[in-house]
Subunit: 482 residues, 2 copies
């Protein structure tokens, strides 16, 4: 159709320049704007709404697994960072420091939090005295700041929004279980709400969180074949407990260090949502997370307007009453064609068209955003069919993303082959790794790919290291990454 | 009762030392802890949960009045503050400045936001071009920092949480309507959800927001007779529009400055909730905002435990299914008496006791937190009676707070009388005011009371200024304030 072609012109094609496509889409869909502060964005209402939807679904899961929300201070004294050596080294270069208030210099510099293990650690040392006080299961919704060198809207910004869970446990086993449980919670959220398939696994030592014993991640594949770390869960052992003296009197009357975990998911997940599902026509939102699931567009000539609007209002009310998130665009100063394009760009899962000829036949037209299929539906069956269509779109989006990930993943046996997969074939490479940091670093230098994680459940086990050909102790996913 | 007396000992009596009572209650009810950062607190889960309840109810109202949420950067360039003269003078002394990142000095200092008019103003100047872009109705949930000299948990902390609405309109009238509408939204929330009666009015010029044309507030009376400004709504005229060049092409083809508003409510409202309703036994939460409305406490001897627990579980499930927020404390290592005290302290509106003798009579005992009244209720009627009891507690808490406010408010005709009312009688004084800053300042110096607001609807109009005896242009509420 002419209007589609005209429309496509506005957005760079994915195949032409994926990065420009991304910026075009998030700008035109009005999700964000660049802020006048280095590397920061403004989350505009349509972008922030996506985060609110993520918050709602994550928060529900956190509470269902026994966690409660709290709020800890933004500004953290410098001395706190000094207590955990790896931690301070990891974060120091990115820390913004408050050094003055009004005209007065502060005695001790305060960091704008990049993450809150240190201040949680300090408070937990005050709160935890006995095994009866454990576990402590707290989550925080907050803003954090990390002065990253290269920034990209949603994916890597100087300030971002996230949740950070911080838990303390009596035993190592229990803390490990928590670490894994929260990785499962993230997986469930990302796969079932966002329709993004992920690879669960453990980070290599060079990629783990500064101060953690082990970091676990879920990794997703974007449509350009690059990886995005969608969530992390850290087993901190007793590292932070020792640094902050989190000790408790155990049942056996001995004073012991607690074991702690932390886990986080950030607004970068919005970037993943766009890069996994978006296409040349714009965003594509999975129905379960879409703030608006159905957009009603009344069509037809002016003389039929009143009749159509009345019917459309009725449809809106009926569907809304069943919990479907539905809106109508009944403006008469823009054409239906313009609206079709607009809501395709914005990724609304279903468009519902209704005009006088439809009403004559007691029907409406549903148009799927994912397949562009047009489905005439009797008004009497609308509720059931819209609901089942939303379910169908959700599962087929996940299935498509899964197929894409599978088709762009390959086992490799040489660095040349790895380079081929991550560069030319735009995919993930599964490779053996001896466990030596040097071999991992070599891959990064030669191919630009980093180890994503050591998957819990790899499609196969590779027996020799892709670099040194020695025995592989691990099978690892490598990819270029955001 | 012996246990009550024993319990009361732990909390300073309100009549003895209201400030110590407040700290005792918020500490023992586990709402907060002092953070190791000057003037900051940690919002512990039970305290944060109150904020979440406030957020839910406010957010619902904001959205119902056409506002959408967004998120703007935390760090604001120094130059932005210079653009509005009154604004920068008002906030400068309290601003924390980020001057370094890692080891590098920044070229321009960045303020940690104390409020966001400046950055909203800048972005709005980019977004608003035509009358078609107006109104812009955005709210932000955020943390802000103001380095206050004297701090008090919840009421005044260096960092606090709030929402800040920022709107832009084509005309002065529309912006004024918005300012008033949001004051009404706050009033509705505070009176109907928090059961706190408020006085709506306009701030005197000396008490208005730096940069505003007019500030409107709702003022509440705490149980010590001091005032707490519970929410403010500012009509900013075109002040910020001129400073940030927010201009639009109007229908008449002329470029005009927009008119803006801002309005905010903060976590200090939690302090109000405590100080308006709390008593010598602890917190008292209005049912509509209480995270837990009913606490089930099984009682009776060990041999009846299984029977009682089974019945209690059933009661819990039945009431929960109707949307009542209900929990059970079935621990057997603490006594029912301890639990009674604990949940009185925590302010749960209704305690539901059930023991074997109750079950023999197919009943449970409801105990009201507000009146301590014990009400035996047939199990068959529990749902209806609990719901109506919650409604009754809600309205009687509002009525009591209203009566308290009325009984502690008095019209005065001299500064001596004003001093008497705000100091000895612990109340609000209604007085005439000529409108001269000097008279207002005199009252502050002589009595410690500040003008709270010029009420829209005063109980009476006073004709002469309480200081200079000249004609009063305004009738004003004066009180000592938090």
């Amino acid at each position: 159709m002419a209007k589609d072609k005209e429309f496509v012109k506005d957005i760079t094609l994915q195949s032409e320049d994926f990065s420009r496509w991304y910026i075009d889409v998030i700008t035109k869909a009005d999700l964000m704007d660049y802020a006048p502060v280095r590397g920061c964005i403004v989350f505009k209402p349509d972008g922030y709404e996506l985060w609110e939807a993520c918050q709602r679904e994550l928060d529900r899961r956190f509470k269902a697994t026994g966690h409660r929300n709290a709020y800890f201070p933004l500004l953290i004294p410098e001395s706190f960072f000094q207590k955990e050596k790896e931690h301070v080294e990891g974060f120091n270069p990115e820390l913004p420091w408050v050094t003055q208030v009004g005209d007065d210099a502060l005695e001790e510099r305060l960091a704008v939090r990049p993450t809150s293990e240190t201040i949680f650690g300090y408070m937990y040392s005050q709160w935890i005295q006995s095994y009866r006080d454990l576990p402590v299961l707290i989550n925080q919704w907050a803003n954090v700041v990390r002065w990253e060198k290269r920034t990209l809207p949603f994916l890597r910004t100087s300030e971002f929004l996230w949740q950070e869970g911080h838990t303390a446990h009596a035993t190592q086993e229990e803390a490990m279980q928590e670490t894994e449980k929260m990785l499962d919670v993230y997986t469930d959220f990302v796969e079932n709400e966002l329709a993004i398939p992920v690879i669960k696994g453990r980070k290599t030592p060079s990629e783990k969180f500064p101060g953690a014993v082990a970091t676990y991640s879920i990794e997703a594949m974007m449509k350009d074949g690059k990886a995005l770390q969608a969530g992390t869960s850290h087993f901190l052992g007793d590292n932070f407990a020792r640094s902050f003296d989190i000790k408790f009197l155990d049942k056996d009357n001995e004073r012991k260090f607690a074991f702690t975990t932390s886990w986080g998911m950030t607004t970068r997940i919005i970037g993943a949502l766009i890069m996994v599902h978006g296409d040349d026509r714009g965003l594509q939102l999975p129905p379960r997370i879409a703030p608006t699931q159905v957009m009603v567009i009344p069509i037809g000539p002016a003389k039929a307007r009143e009749r159509v609007l009345t019917a459309a209002q009725e449809i809106l009310a009926t569907l809304a009453s069943t919990g479907i998130r539905i809106k109508m665009d009944d403006r008469d100063d823009v054409s239906p064609g313009w609206k079709f394009n607009e809501y395709e760009l914005r990724g609304i899962p279903i468009r519902l068209e209704v005009g006088p000829r439809d009403l004559d036949q007691s029907q409406a037209i549903l148009v799927r955003r994912d397949t562009s299929e047009k489905i005439p539906v009797p008004l009497a069956n609308l509720k059931e069919i819209v609901q089942s269509l939303l379910d169908d779109i959700q599962s087929s989006m996940l299935a498509n993303a899964r197929a894409f990930q599978r088709d762009h993943s390959k086992t490799v046996h040489s660095v040349a082959e790895l380079l081929q997969v991550v560069r030319s074939e735009h995919g993930f490479a599964l490779a053996g790794w001896c466990g030596d940091d040097a071999c991992e670093a070599h891959i990064k230098t030669e191919t630009g790919a980093t180890s994503r994680n050591i998957p819990f459940d790899p499609p196969e086990h590779v027996s020799t290291c892709v670099v040194c050909n020695q025995e592989a102790n691990h099978t690892v996913w490598f990819a270029r990454a955001y």
